[in-house]
């Protein structure tokens, strides 16, 4: 019985997602569907309506910048934390607390401001900047779009 439980734990990771907006809820639904244990935290209970009906994880209503809320989410046991709120500073604080105080091995934070992202790369926080990502894709599309048109013309 114990052996079965252990293999199950190995296959599914314990993931804490902070912020249940469009991105957070999308990630939560997908990761839960893939068989992971997911906990979502959001200040606003209404955002949990965006979770799909087959979402099997836990929901915690609370402010993740308060250590007590992260404790409630059993962050010490988490394999991954993803901070996706719409506030850069919340994401950066939660990510650092998860990394340095709760010892979460893998931490990801969404940071909109590219200038802020630079600084936090130094501190060991993995960041994803939607602004830079979108900018790169737009630029890529512009370049390939131009190349295709030029190709069609010649």
């Amino acid at each position: 019985m114990k052996a079965i439980q252990e293999t199950k734990v190995k296959n599914s990771r314990y993931i804490v997602i902070v912020g249940c907006g469009r991105l957070g809820s999308h990630l939560a639904n997908q990761l839960s569907r893939d068989g992971n244990s997911v906990v979502v935290i959001d200040r606003d209970e209404a955002t949990f309506n965006d979770l799909s009906s087959d979402f099997s994880g836990f929901r915690i209503e609370g402010d993740a910048t308060q250590r007590a809320v992260l404790q409630e989410a059993k962050l010490k046991k988490a394999d991954i934390l993803i901070a996706t709120t719409h506030e850069d500073n919340v994401n950066l604080m939660v990510a650092q607390v998860a990394l340095k105080i709760f010892g979460v091995p893998h931490v990801l934070a969404r940071v909109f401001d590219p200038k802020r992202e630079e600084v936090y790369a130094q501190l060991g926080v993995d960041t994803i900047c939607p602004t830079s990502v979108a900018a790169d894709m737009f630029l890529q599309a512009v370049v390939t779009g131009c190349a295709e048109r030029e190709g069609a013309q010649s």
Binding site: T65, A68, N89, Q96, V97, K100, I101, K115, R116, V119
Partner: protein, 220 residues
């Protein structure tokens, strides 16, 4: 000295008034535009309206040459990021963050940012004032089974002028440190106690009361 203060409200106003009176150069960063206009009229300080956790705003405020940054906004996450940007990006030697949630004071220290919690400071002040004024409970040790207490000896104390070895102390009590004129020392039997000495006592809860009485003379 050049100080950058990020925040708002009355605390910021009085703090800034205090600093400018001392001759410090003060730059304020406040998000609230109406409040910025008020502050600029009332204070001898440069006021910048904007988000203090934005590197561009910090630069505009002259963070590069600042001696200290003080982040006292109502949001702990902003205070943390402001201080980290100030020290990591602009090399400000002193950055101090207000922890609105007292738990975060410890969190900030662990993340390398000095911090303070007004809730904690005011709380302990009230406790000290409300209890006997000369006695301060420093900290409980060993899950509360040991008390560390500081007492300031006044003229009414029965132990002043005596050598430590001549003072009859109850069982399980120790005079750990005597602080005289800001000089701490670990006393021996041949040391005496004087008025104004700050004595750090280690006691167990069962004899805590009698020991305090022996030093303050109260209740006799």
């Amino acid at each position: 000295m050049k100080v950058l203060i990020v925040g708002g409200g009355r605390t910021l106003y009085f703090l800034c008034r205090n600093f400018t009176a001392k001759g410090y150069e003060v730059v304020i960063i406040d998000r609230d535009q109406a409040e910025c206009i008020q502050l600029a009229r009332q204070l001898f300080a440069t006021v910048i309206c904007g988000d203090g956790s934005d590197a561009g705003i910090l630069q505009e405020a002259g963070a590069m040459g600042a001696d200290a940054v003080l982040a006292i906004t109502a949001n702990d996450q902003d205070n943390l990021v402001i201080c980290q940007l100030a020290s990591l990006k602009f090399g400000v030697p002193r950055a101090v963050a207000l922890a609105n949630d007292p738990d975060n004071a410890e969190v900030f220290e662990k993340l390398g940012v000095s911090s303070f919690s007004t809730t904690r400071i005011v709380g302990s002040l009230i406790e000290q004032r409300a209890s006997l004024e000369q006695i301060t409970n420093l900290l409980p040790v060993g899950q509360g089974k040991v008390n560390v207490t500081e007492i300031v000896l006044d003229a009414g104390s029965p132990v002043t002028g005596k050598l430590l070895k001549d003072i009859a102390l109850p069982e399980n009590a120790l005079v750990a440190v005597v602080i005289r004129d800001d000089q701490p020392m670990v006393p021996r039997g041949g040391n005496d106690l004087q008025v104004g000495d700050r004595v750090v006592l280690i006691t167990l809860p069962e004899n805590h009361g009698p020991v305090l009485k022996a030093f303050t003379g109260e209740g006799k």
